[in-house]
Each structure stands twice: as structure tokens, then as C-alpha cells.
């Protein structure tokens, strides 16, 4: 049943344990596109809007405004129109979507949601779905059919007497569901009854069959707690794992003589970094005044680089406002007419920067600290800043000047996905000649960014806003966007930076120039 998808409480930041839905931005029944803002969620530290992780139709809102739910809990269900409401009900029932909301919310009892059609024998207390990681045996039992949510018509009920030709799993299922196999039509070889045959017969007789639960495929194994002192590992790996709080059982062992080596530990760390740390002993949050959050390696790395950049490069900033009405109109037209293309404003900005860099190649550079020399590049490799819960990363769109808007858009999306799933390769984020950092989606009007070494400049892009401007002596409303270019004064002077901005303006305000 791949048409039903869940929207879950995201993990924003290492310490986030739960979130409260404050407002739904999409109505039940409405369709949404990937990237659209669908609801607002408040955590103990921030309030933010959740971007839809896929295209879909919001069929059922599960989390009501004001409801606080743990990370990973179901917020809503999305499904294609073809999926019936009943199937959605079944699905929710099967996954035990009765989640205990924190007090002061809709009805103290679990499940302010339509209950499954018959009393269920839930094999475990209502639990949030999917992201809980449990030891192997429990998961496997849970992945078998949950008897309670399959409804067997009376006509089929009974015990199987005597010899019926059926597969072992069909036999087991019949036992579990108290079905008499003599009443089931077998369509297999020699009339053999299969699990599928039982399901078909149930449906044909007017019953329902619970949809199967897809196994957790987050790519992250559950975290182990067994004593790992006997796991063969290099000394470096062992120390590193201890310092990072990683159990050696969770690491692959690709080192010599079958030992866990340092890169295996780093790999495990990378995997865990992007997922909720379930099963780990939770911080006793309520009582303490503060909690200590250790720096992850990634955080340390970001810190070091930016500090170095700020220290070594004398930053200066140039700000200008760009009128983007024409750009927005072009974007709308392209998105409406070109199939399978959904350009964002940022895609245009990336392209415009690449085009501008071709006109002002002295900004398309890297500064080599070691040799104190400037490397001027012919092609524009634009780094795009991506915010991850764990920190900032800048994947690169290489040769952006030679790519179409659609190609840039597709590539950015793919790079962002890779970044969010921790799959970027080194050459996908190391290097680049220019960076675009966009906080427009957070409604930031203007900001300036720190240069991404070894590059020479970075463009900080704000939100597009309707503002009053003066045209021919009249005050009119235009959509304006403020950009700030930070430059390294060792290699880029004010005039040069300004020249770049002038070219950028040309491309942004006359976007047709980017199409030829």
C-alpha cells in the first residue's frame, strides 16, 4: 500500500524530543507539493514551519493544534484520492496511531481518532510509529500480520480439520485467525492455498485485511547496549567510539583482521547523527536548569572553518535590493508549462550568480592560503548552503553557468536530499568558487554571511517581500529581495564587488537574459 504516506514530527536539532503543532497551514483534503509549508511546530527552543517531504494530498490530520507529540509521531496521513477513507482508517488502526498526547488536549483517552472497527488485541501499548527501534525479535513479531485489525467474516471461521494443501504460512495464518481452510479457495499449484488466497477469500466474503506494515528502513540500525569490550577493534577506533558514545557492535568492521577501524566508527557516527537517538537514556529534562550538549565533530568542524574564515579574510559587505516581479512571473510560467519542473527562486539566483560570475570572473576565485595566491576559475561552481539539523553544509552545483535552470533545480534538490541523508561525497561539498546562502524561507529580510573558505565571496539572499518603491515619481508596490555580498578584501575590492552586483541585478531583474 505505497499510496499511503505519513507525515511525522521531525527532529530539528539534537536535543529535540518533542514538538507541539501550533497551526496547520494546509487543510484536510488539500493537495501539497514537496517543499510546501504544511504546519507550524513549536519546540522548546524554536518555532518553525514543517516543509512537506513529498507531494501528496492531506487526507487526515492526526495531530491537533496544541497537541504535543514525541519526535517521530504521526502528524498526518497523506494518500492519493484513489485510496478510500476506510483504508486510511484501517491503516491508522494498524499502526496503533493512538498516541498519548500530553495533558491539556483533546480527550484524555488515547485515540481521539476513529477507532478500528472491532476491539483490537494490540500486542503492545499504543506506541508512536516507525522510528522506535526495538531489538530484532520484537520487530519481527510485530511485522507479522496483526490479527486484531483483520476482520474475518463468520462464514470462514472455524478450525481446519484434516489435510488441506496449503503453504506453511497460510496454515499459520489460518490458525492465528481461526479460519477453517476448507472454506478457502486455493489458486496455487494443485489447488494449494497461499496467504494471498486467504486474504482474497476474506475480502470476497466481505471482510477486511489489515495492510502490511512496512519494515523500518531508516538505514540506521538500532543502537546496541551490550558490552562491546570483546568486539575486535583498533585502539584508535575503540577510543574514538568511547568518546562519541558509540557502541562497537553498531559499527561495521572493515579494518584489518576483521576489526572495527576508525573510519567504521566515523561512518556509524555519521549515520546516527541524522536520526533520532532513540533508546539512548533520555536526559532528565524537566528538573535541570540547563543541559550539556557536547559538540559533534561536524559542529566542531563548522566552527573551526568559519572562525578561520572570519579571522583571516577581512570581510566587507555590499547590499542591494533586487526587483523580482519579472523573475517571479517567469518562474510561474515555467512551472506551469514545463512538465516535471518546479523551479524555486533560489534556482534563479544560483543561475544568475553563475552568469554574473562569467561577466566578472575576478570574483569567481579561490584564495590559496598556503601559497597566498588567487586561483581564478573559468567555470562557476556554486555552493548552495543547506541547513541540516546537525549543522550547515554547502553542496556544490558544478559548472552552473553551463546548466539550464531545470538542471540546476534538479541538481540542487538531489544534493539537498543527499545532504539530509548524509550521503554527500567529499567532492560534492568540498571546493566551489562562490556560495549562495538563502534564508528567505525564514522571512529574514537581510543578513550577511561569512565567506566559505577558500572562496572569495558569498551572497546572502533574503526574503522576497512586497515593498513600496518609487517609480517615475510614483509610489508603487513591487516584490523586492535584498542581497548582501560579503567579500574578502584581500582579493576583491569594493568596485569589483559592486560590478558583480550590477551584473547580478541585470540577470535577476531581466531574467530572460538567463535563458539564452
Amino acid at each position: 500500500m505505497s499510496e499511503i504516506k505519513l507525515i511525522e514530527v521531525p527532529k530539528w536539532g539534537l536535543s529535540m524530543e518533542e514538538g507541539t503543532v501550533t497551526e496547520w497551514l494546509v487543510e484536510e483534503g488539500a493537495s501539497f507539493s514537496k517543499g510546501d509549508l504544511i504546519c507550524e511546530i513549536e519546540t522548546s527552543k524554536i518555532a518553525n514551519q514543517l516543509e512537506a517531504p513529498f507531494n501528496g494530498v492531506l487526507r487526515r490530520i492526526v495531530a491537533k493544534p496544541g497537541e504535543t507529540l514525541p519526535v517521530g509521531a504521526v502528524l498526518a496521513v497523506s494518500a492519493e484520492a484513489a485510496v478510500s477513507d476506510a483504508e486510511i482508517e484501517e491503516f491508522l488502526a494498524a499502526i496503533g496511531a493512538d498516541q498519548a498526547p500530553t495533558p491539556a488536549e483533546a480527550g484524555g483517552s488515547p485515540g481521539g481518532h476513529p477507532a478500528p472497527a472491532q476491539p483490537t488485541l494490540e500486542s503492545s501499548p499504543p506506541s508512536p510509529v516507525a522510528h522506535e527501534s526495538v531489538p530484532v525479535t520484537e520487530t519481527t513479531n510485530a511485522s507479522r500480520q496483526r490479527p486484531g485489525s483483520t476482520i474475518v467474516p463468520e462464514a470462514l471461521q472455524g478450525r481446519t480439520n484434516g489435510d488441506v494443501f496449503a503453504t506453511p504460512h497460510a496454515r499459520r495464518l489460518a490458525d492465528d485467525l481461526s479460519i477453517d481452510l476448507a472454506r478457502v479457495a486455493g489458486t496455487g499449484r494443485e489447488g494449494r492455498i497461499s496467504v494471498a488466497d486467504i486474504h482474497d477469500t476474506i475480502r470476497a466474503a466481505g471482510g477486511t485485511v489489515a495492510p502490511p506494515v512496512s519494515p523500518v528502513r531508516s538505514g540506521v540500525p538500532g543502537r546496541s547496549f551490550e558490552d562491546d569490550s570483546t568486539v575486535p577493534a583498533t585502539p584508535v577506533a575503540r577510543r574514538l567510539a568511547a568518546s562519541l558514545g558509540i557502541n562497537l557492535h553498531d559499527c561495521r568492521a572493515t579494518g584489518s583482521r576483521g576489526r572495527v577501524c576508525e573510519s567504521d566508527v566515523r561512518e556509524a557516527e555519521r549515520r546516527f547523527r541524522l536520526q533520532p537517538e532513540v533508546g539512548a537514556a533520555p536526559e532528565p529534562a524537566a528538573e535541570a536548569e540547563f543541559e550539556t550538549i557536547p559538540f559533534t565533530t561536524m559542529r566542531k568542524a563548522i566552527g573551526q572553518r568559519l572562525q578561520q574564515s572570519k579571522r583571516n579574510a577581512p570581510h566587507f559587505r555590499l547590499t542591494t535590493d533586487l526587483q523580482i516581479d519579472d523573475l517571479l512571473a517567469l518562474r510561474k510560467e515555467i512551472n506551469a508549462t514545463v512538465p516535471a519542473v518546479k523551479l524555486s527562486v533560489n534556482d534563479f539566483i544560483v543561475k544568475a550568480c553563475a552568469a554574473a560570475l562569467q561577466k566578472v570572473p575576478d570574483v569567481n576565485i579561490q584564495f590559496d592560503e598556503a601559497t597566498q595566491s588567487v586561483l581564478r576559475y573559468a567555470r562557476a561552481d556554486i555552493s548552495v548552503a543547506v541547513a541540516l539539523p546537525s549543522g550547515l553544509i554547502t553542496p556544490i552545483v558544478r559548472n552552473a553557468d553551463g546548466k539550464t535552470l531545470a538542471e540546476i533545480s534538479g541538481e540542487v534538490q538531489s544534493l539537498v536530499t543527499k545532504a539530509k541523508t548524509g550521503k554527500l561525497t567529499a567532492d560534492e561539498f568540498q571546493g566551489g568558487t562562490f556560495t549562495v546562502s538563502n534564508l528567505g524561507m525564514f522571512d529574514v529580510r537581510k543578513f550577511d554571511a561569512i565567506i566559505n573558505p577558500p572562496q572569495g565571496a558569498i551572497l546572502a539572499v533574503g526574503a522576497g517581500q512586497e515593498r513600496p518603491v518609487v517609480v517615475d515619481g510614483q509610489v508603487v508596490a513591487r516584490t523586492m529581495l535584498t542581497v548582501t555580498l560579503s567579500c574578502d578584501h584581500r582579493v576583491i575590492d569594493g568596485a569589483l564587488g559592486a560590478a558583480f552586483l550590477r551584473e547580478l541585478r541585470r540577470f535577476v531583474e531581466s531574467p530572460a537574459l538567463m535563458l539564452v
Binding site: T137, N141, S143, P168, R189, S194, V195, V216, P221
Partner: protein, 343 residues
């Protein structure tokens, strides 16, 4: 029905004998089925001593019971043996041809591949070829590179052939009787290391349908799919793991073609973790066929990547230490299960 403890070898012989008793058109064709034709031992001629009945003694005594018209010893000419059997099957007999070692299919494959397998289709449904070709497969006896292979993957790829590889005496008898009664050409693969293994076998004739797998162990955590001699290794691994709390289900397809896709997929849907162990090939083997089936039809149930345990891509070595390393065994299966369970 009465059962007896019977070896794999005796179960096969019983199947042959009982079918020949039941149906006069069933004949056996092969080298040394009796053995001793034109021999010079008077005791053999007088019947005082029974001829050896084949290199591994499977057909011993059948000539004495049925005579030269039904148990036909031939010269060492595989092409003519299999070709003759195919022609005879087309024209009224139900021959069981022995290809002593399946490795020899190289010298007679046309008769099976281009002729017997294709008659029915090429002739628009107007022919049937009720032929059985039986022969030995498998490594483990230091029989070396040309006498130790298991080419059932090659035969299974041919539309028109059915391929059977039983793992125990009970399956061997029931499936051989089924093969003889089937109207299509069947390649029946007997693993040479299993001939002396005993099992409970009914005394009377019985059949086992093609395309129905047998679960030798039922479990919930991992599925092992194994064929022929590998089933025993899988069972050994499963029993050891059970003691540690890992519940293993062992699926023995028994027939490579037709394949019990449903039986395999149901098990994978249930456990979500799969180890396939197969002696046939390191590439384009039976195991790879099953892995593709699972990956395309049960991907949503998989909790870990599929594990394949096969020999390396080399001919079978002679020296026992090397041959043991070549063959998949319970230890390698166990390691694969652990890998798949912790992934």
C-alpha cells in the same frame, strides 16, 4: 502406509522399479545400468553374482528384474543416449536416461536443449516428450573439476525443461515417480554425497508435486533458502542458531523449475531477512535467480540486503582442503545469517 528407513539411493531405485512395474513403456537407458555386458566373469553370466548396477550402485538388480528390453546398457555415447531417449519419448516410450554425471551434459546437450525441450513448442503443441534424464551433481568427494558440478541453473534457464533436485530420500522417491509420470522432459539431479543418507520413506509409490517447496524448519527471524545437499548444511546452521534465540526458517524449493515462488516469497514476507545458499554457480546461478525474484517481488518486506552464499567463481578443486573451502557449509551459512540479522 508403511514406512521404512531407506537411503537416498535405495529410494531412487525403488521409484524406478515401482514405475517400471506399473507401466511397461518405462525403460531405462544408460551406461552400466547393469554393467558387465560382454564381461568375461562366468559367475556374472550365470547370475550367481549381481552386476554392480552403476558407478554408485543405484540401478543394481534392476536388470535382473526387468531384462535387457527394459534396462538397456549402452556404449559410452551420451549424444546417442539422450538423443535416442528423446526420440523414443516422442514416439511412445517413457524413457529414463542416465547421464551418469551431470557434468557430461556438454557432450549431449543439443539433444536436451534444442530437441527434447523444444519439441512441444516448435510443433505447435502436437508432441509430448515424457523423458527423464537423471544424473549426479555436487562436490564433496574430491571427484575434481569435471565430476563435481551442479549445472541445474543451466537447465532451469531452458524453457521446456523441468528441473528437480531433491535433498533427502523421501523427496527423492516421490519426486522421481512424479518425474516419470510427468509428460514433459525432466532433468533429475541426484547429489552424490547424499546417496547413503537415510530417511523415513513410504514403501508404496507416492508422488510429490513439482513447484512445492518444503520447509524443513519453521521460524520467524530469518529465511534460509537452500537446495539439495545445502539443505543439510542450512538445517545444521539453523539448529545452532536456534539455541541462541535466532528463529530460522529453512525453505527447500526441491524443484528448480517450476519454482515455488509463492512458498519462497511468503517466507521472506514473514521474516524480512534472507540468506540463499547454492552450490550451482558464483554467477548466473540458481541463487541469483531466487535473489532477483525476492528483490523484485518482496522488496517491501526486506529489512536487510539479501545474502548469497555460493562457491567462488572457480572450477571445483581436487585437494580435500581446497574442496572444503570451495563448498558452502554450515559455518558460512551461520555467518551469513548473523550478518543479515544484525544489518
Amino acid at each position: 502406509m508403511t514406512m521404512s528407513k531407506t537411503t537416498y539411493r535405495e529410494a531412487i531405485k525403488a521409484a524406478l522399479a515401482q514405475e517400471m512395474q506399473r507401466d511397461a513403456t518405462v525403460v531405462q537407458i544408460g551406461e552400466d545400468l547393469r554393467g558387465g555386458q560382454a564381461g568375461t566373469n562366468p559367475e556374472l553370466e550365470s547370475g550367481k553374482v549381481e552386476a554392480f548396477g552403476g558407478v554408485l550402485g543405484v540401478t543394481k538388480g534392476l536388470w535382473t528384474e526387468f531384462g535387457s528390453d527394459r534396462v538397456i546398457d549402452t556404449p559410452i555415447t551420451e549424444s546417442a543416449i539422450i538423443g535416442m531417449a528423446a526420440g523414443a519419448a516422442l514416439t511412445g516410450l517413457r524413457p529414463v536416461a542416465e547421464l551418469m554425471f551431470m557434468d557430461f551434459f556438454g557432450v549431449c546437450y543439443d539433444a536436451l536443449y534444442n530437441q527434447a525441450a523444444k519439441f512441444r513448442y516448435m510443433f505447435g503443441g502436437k508432441a509430448r516428450t515424457p523423458l527423464v534424464v537423471r544424473g549426479m551433481i555436487g562436490a564433496g568427494f574430491s571427484a575434481a573439476a569435471q565430476h563435481s558440478q551442479s549445472p541445474y541453473n543451466v537447465f532451469a534457464a531452458v524453457p521446456g525443461l523441468k528441473v528437480v533436485a531433491p535433498s533427502n530420500a523421501y523427496d527423492a522417491k516421490g519426486l522421481l515417480i512424479q518425474s516419470i509420470r510427468d509428460d514433459d522432459p525432466v532433468v533429475f539431479c541426484e547429489h552424490k554425497t547424499l546417496y547413503d543418507v537415510k530417511g523415513e520413506v513410504p514403501d508404496d509409490p507416492y508422488t510429490i508435486p513439482f513447484g512445492v517447496a518444503n520447509y524443513t524448519r519453521e521460524g520467524t527471524d530469518v529465511t534460509i533458502i537452500a537446495l539439495s545437499a545445502m539443505v543439510n548444511a542450512a538445517n545444521t546452521a539453523a539448529d545452532k542458531l536456534a539455541a541462541e534465540g535466532v528463529s530460522v526458517e529453512v525453505v527447500d524449493p526441491r524443484t528448480v523449475s517450476p519454482l515455488d515462488e509463492e512458498g519462497i516469497l511468503e517466507s521472506v514476507d514473514s521474516t524480512g531477512r534472507v540468506v540463499i545458499v547454492d552450490e550451482s554457480a558464483a554467477r548466473c546461478g540458481f541463487g541469483h535467480d531466487v535473489a532477483a525474484l525476492i528483490a523484485t517481488r518482496a522488496f517491501g518486506s526486506l529489512k536487510a540486503p539479501i545474502e548469497l552464499v555460493t562457491p567462488p567463481h572457480t572450477p571445483v578443486p581436487f585437494s580435500p582442503v581446497l574442496e572444503q573451502a570451495w563448498l558452502p557449509d554450515a559455518a558460512r551459512i551461520e555467518a551469513a545469517v548473523r550478518k543479515v540479522v544484525s544489518a
